[in-house]
């Protein structure tokens, strides 16, 4: 959030608050700034305020407090139809009484663009989403994926610089979703448009975005590129919400040489990177990704702390093995190992020692 005041900001939320009932804030003090051409995803559980933010940006909701700026100008008082922001809805919102071509023609007609220009633009837009031969169809004659492509083409046909997408792939099946994720990101980068994308699907957020804003409780919990978000979560909510995560609770014993020694509730000691802890005696949650856990002693550094673990369950998943362990009294500790020829397949009941590099282990807020 260091770049909130940068000068090249295209979209800017400045201390924005929103309340529907005058008692509870749905969005609490939102500060966000996006450069032009960025693909930013708002990710969060339902009710976290992400859709409200999107609607405020589109102009369908007004901010209770604060300023929303687009290209340097405040848009608080500009009605939605004058903002020139493209929008894709979850249920597509294609006009059922118009053909595909008429749907695409609509934003051009209201902008009073000439007929031949309109036809060119519609053709380009449809070709861009590989739907060129569907111009004469009605939305009801198209499949969900096709409808979403048309909705995308319609949001892009009038060449907006900013496009908002509200869970556009939520209603599609997994395979189609993955194809379209890829197509949408490609298109966005090709056209150089700025995209604000709302979703509750973290895989979608990670694969598509330049940056992800994780929302919870009306605040941005972390705003970072996907890799940073996954590998360096700043608090336990983000660590839990993004990807699979193992959590061990304990108290900071001491901080030395850039690492914290944490005494787990079971009594064992482990090393972790201090993120949200600063002094001994603080309670903490230690977070470690399943794929960073090692039980092959040869791969561990000799001075690393190890923990005793008992194998509870071994699941063969094809490309990986997923093993559930009992560690420090908790039996939901999961490790993932690659299916390599030399990999040991653990058996339930087996006692093993597990360990990790201290850099992969993060001591977060309790």
């Amino acid at each position: 959030m260091a770049d909130t005041t940068s000068n090249d900001a295209f979209v800017e939320f400045d201390r924005v608050q929103k309340s529907y009932d005058g008692e509870n804030l749905v969005v609490k003090d939102l500060n966000l700034s996006m450069p032009k051409g960025e693909f930013l995803t708002m990710l969060g559980p339902s009710g976290s305020g992400k859709t409200t933010c999107l609607m405020m940006l589109a102009g369908f909701e007004t901010a209770t407090h604060g300023d929303i700026r687009l290209d340097g100008k405040s848009i608080n008082d500009i009605p939605p139809h004058k903002r020139g922001i493209g929008m894709v809805f979850q249920n597509y919102a294609l006009f059922p009484h118009m053909t595909v071509a008429e749907n695409l023609s609509f934003p051009l007609e209201v902008r009073k663009i000439g007929k031949s220009d309109r036809e060119d633009k519609i053709k380009t837009a449809l070709d861009r989403v590989q739907m060129g031969s569907f111009a004469g169809r009605r939305p009801a004659q198209l499949s969900g994926g096709q409808q979403q492509r048309i909705a995308l083409a319609r949001a892009l046909v009038f060449e907006p610089e900013l496009v908002l997408m509200d869970e556009p792939l939520g209603a599609l099946d997994k395979q189609l979703r993955e194809t379209l994720q890829f197509e949408i990101t490609n298109l966005a980068h090709e056209l150089g448009i700025t995209v604000v994308y709302v979703t509750h699907d973290q895989t979608e957020a990670l694969t598509m975005s330049d940056r992800v804003a994780v929302f919870d409780d009306g605040r941005i919990q972390q705003l970072a590129p996907p890799d940073k978000l996954y590998e360096e979560p700043e608090n336990s909510f983000v660590a839990q919400f993004i990807g699979e995560n193992n959590t061990l609770e304990g108290v900071v014993k001491e901080i030395k040489g850039g690492y914290a020694v944490v005494e787990l509730d079971g009594g064992a000691l482990i090393d972790a990177k201090p993120i949200n802890v600063s002094k001994a005696g603080e309670r903490t949650r230690v977070s470690i990704r399943p794929e960073r856990v090692e039980y092959n002693k040869e791969r561990l550094s000799p001075d690393a702390h190890t923990l005793k673990a008992e194998v509870l369950e071994f699941i063969y998943m094809g490309d990986i093995f997923r093993t559930r362990l009992r560690v420090a009294g908790k039996d939901d500790f999961v490790i993932k190992t690659r299916n390599a020829p030399d990999q040991v397949r653990l058996k339930p009941g087996q006692q093993i020692d597990i360990g990790w590099l201290p850099d992969d282990c993060r001591a977060l807020d309790a």
Binding site: P80, G86, F89, F106, V110
Partner: protein, 567 residues
């Protein structure tokens, strides 16, 4: 069938089951079920029970609708062309009139008047001549009183013959003698055995065969007479003397072509018959044409005879012509005089006012439907109760309330005068005219517009409007180009409901419509209950039904009935 099986099984690894099925379906002929019966038949058998049960469940309603709705409507529609009363009441006259050519300019010949005498005589005994008079009066004014007058006087007309026969011999005075002469032996025996006080049914009169051949006219009239006495009056035939018309028929028979054979007759009263046959040549005769002219000179008017001739057929287009301001003339259908045309204007007015009412309902109902559809469910339900509130009040009460509101000294005029909008001496005429009907009926029919509008609007998601606005449309464009087209099915459903209801509306126009604000239905009601011209009422109703069906068809062609949604 077999192709499908092949295609589906071809893609899968064959199982023994599949192979068996494959072999089955490859055989020529119909697909068989497991027990060897054709699959189609066993499917039908399986479905028959279900169908029967479904039919039994709807049967009570089906029968109820058939008996109380379809049948009366069909009967009413039939009345619009039915015209049996003329040929049933005047069978002989209409029969003879068939050959009469009105264009020749001459009145019908004597036999027609003779037949008319017989017909009217019998009709007045049965008291049917006044009904026929009222029926023909719809077509030609004055016929009703003509028939009533003729009915009164026709009794005396043929008495000349009765008197002469009775003067000739007392034999002809006695009903008993007539019975002996005309009745069959079986009947006579039965009648003799019958005890009048026993309460048993009187044996029905049977005609003797040979007398029917010898005296055909007399026998026919006597049979009618006997039947009438026994069935209608329930009197003992032995104590009744024949009608005068029987004597005139006897005169006809005795002077007719069979007269020569009377000499060979040997049955009961043969001598009296032969004596009478010898005497009839001396009898004074009656000129029926002149006699009818005596009763009323209208009987020598071509119009009366033409009307009777034109309405002789069992079915007539007369009611329908009448309903479209035309009439039957000898030269075919022709428009009525300008001042006699009323139904065309009434139909046009009904259409126009129904359209006005439908239009006002759309204008007033659309915003209400919109508000209801866009409010939170709780508030919408509360407002919906207000919309439905009029349904809980009597139609008459609501209409009468409008009378109070709209009259010249009424609430609305008073308010307008108080506000200074209109001067006290130029109060608006809001009732007993078209304005009154339109205002009151718009109010009464409004819920029928709001309900379908509301239920259609409820199904239009608000995201469409948001999408339109995000694409750059102003509020109005978004509404007009995106929301409105999707609400058209609701407008269609509401309009059809309101228009069809208003086109047949009766009570409200009757109360607040005055003379200029009434509908065709008011005229239909008048013909049903006051003028009793049911045929014309039925014809008007049939036309109204045809117009409604026609409009429905046109609506289907233009808008498409699939576009009508009630929810």
């Amino acid at each position: 069938m077999s192709d499908v099986t092949d295609a589906t099984t071809a893609n899968q690894a064959p199982t023994p089951d599949d192979a068996a099925r494959l072999a089955d379906s490859k055989k020529a002929g119909p697909v068989l079920a497991a027990d060897g019966t054709p699959l189609k038949r066993s499917l039908n058998r399986a479905l028959r029970r279900q169908k029967l049960r479904a039919l039994m469940l709807v049967a009570p309603l089906l029968i109820f609708v058939l008996l109380t709705f379809i049948a009366p409507i069909a009967d009413m529609l039939f009345r619009s062309v039915e015209n049996q009363i003329v040929s049933e009441t005047l069978p002989r006259t209409t029969d003879l009139l068939g050959d009469w050519d009105a264009d020749a300019g001459a009145l019908p010949e004597a036999p027609v008047y003779k037949a008319l005498y017989e017909d009217i005589f019998i009709a007045q005994e049965r008291k049917e001549h006044t009904r026929l008079g009222s029926r023909l009066n719809y077509e030609l004014t004055g016929v009703s009183s003509l028939f009533r007058k003729s009915g009164r006087k026709v009794e005396d007309m043929g008495e000349v013959y009765q008197d002469q026969f009775e003067d000739l011999d007392e034999f002809w005075e006695k009903g008993e003698n007539w019975n002996q002469m005309m009745g069959s032996d079986d009947w006579l025996a039965d009648h003799a055995a019958w005890n009048e006080d026993s309460g048993d049914r009187q044996p029905r009169f049977e005609l003797r065969d040979d007398i029917a051949e010898l005296l055909p006219e007399t026998a026919a009239k006597y049979e009618i007479f006997a039947n009438f006495v026994q069935v209608e009056d329930e009197d003992n035939l032995y104590t009744e003397d024949p009608w005068a018309v029987v004597y005139s028929a006897l005169y006809d028979d005795l002077t007719g072509p069979n007269a020569a054979q009377i000499a060979n007759y040997s049955g009961f009263g043969a001598d009296k018959l032969q004596a009478a046959a010898a005497a009839v040549s001396e009898f004074e005769t009656v000129d029926f044409a002149a006699a009818f002219e005596d009763i009323d000179k209208d009987w020598s008017s071509m119009d009366v005879w033409q009307t009777i001739q034109m309405y002789s057929p069992k079915y007539t287009s007369g009611y329908f012509l009448n309903a479209v301001d035309m009439q039957k003339t000898p030269d075919g259908p022709a428009l009525r005089d300008e001042n006699e045309r009323i139904y065309g204007t009434l139909f046009m007015r009904t259409m126009f006012m129904s359209l006005m009412i439908t239009g006002s309902c759309i204008l007033l109902g659309y915003p209400v439907g919109w508000i209801l559809a866009n409010l939170p469910a709780r508030t919408a339900n509360l407002l919906m109760i207000l919309v439905l509130l009029p349904f809980w009040t009597s139609l008459l009460v609501r209409t009468s309330a409008w009378k109070v509101m709209l009259q010249q000294q009424g609430v609305i005029n008073d308010t307008l005068v108080w506000l200074g909008v209109v001067a006290d001496d130029s109060r608006l005429a809001l009732i007993n005219n078209q304005t009154g009907t339109i205002i009151a009926m718009t109010h009464i029919l409004l819920p029928f517009m709001i309900l379908p509008l509301y239920s259609v609007m409820q199904t239009i998601p608000p995201t469409y409007l948001r999408a339109a606005k995000s694409l750059g449309a102003t509020n109005w464009t978004a509404f007009w180009r995106v929301y409105f087209p999707q609400s058209v099915p609701g407008i269609g459903a509401g309009s059809i409901l309101v228009f069809i209801l208003s086109i047949g509306y009766y009570i409200t126009p009757e109360i607040v419509g005055g003379t200029t604000g009434t509908f065709i239905s008011n005229r239909i009601a008048y013909h049903i209950s006051s003028s009793l011209n049911w045929g014309l009422a039925a014809a008007l109703g049939t036309i109204l039904l045809a117009v409604v069906l026609g409009l429905y068809w046109a609506y289907d062609k233009i808008v498409g009935i699939d576009n009508v949604k009630l929810g």
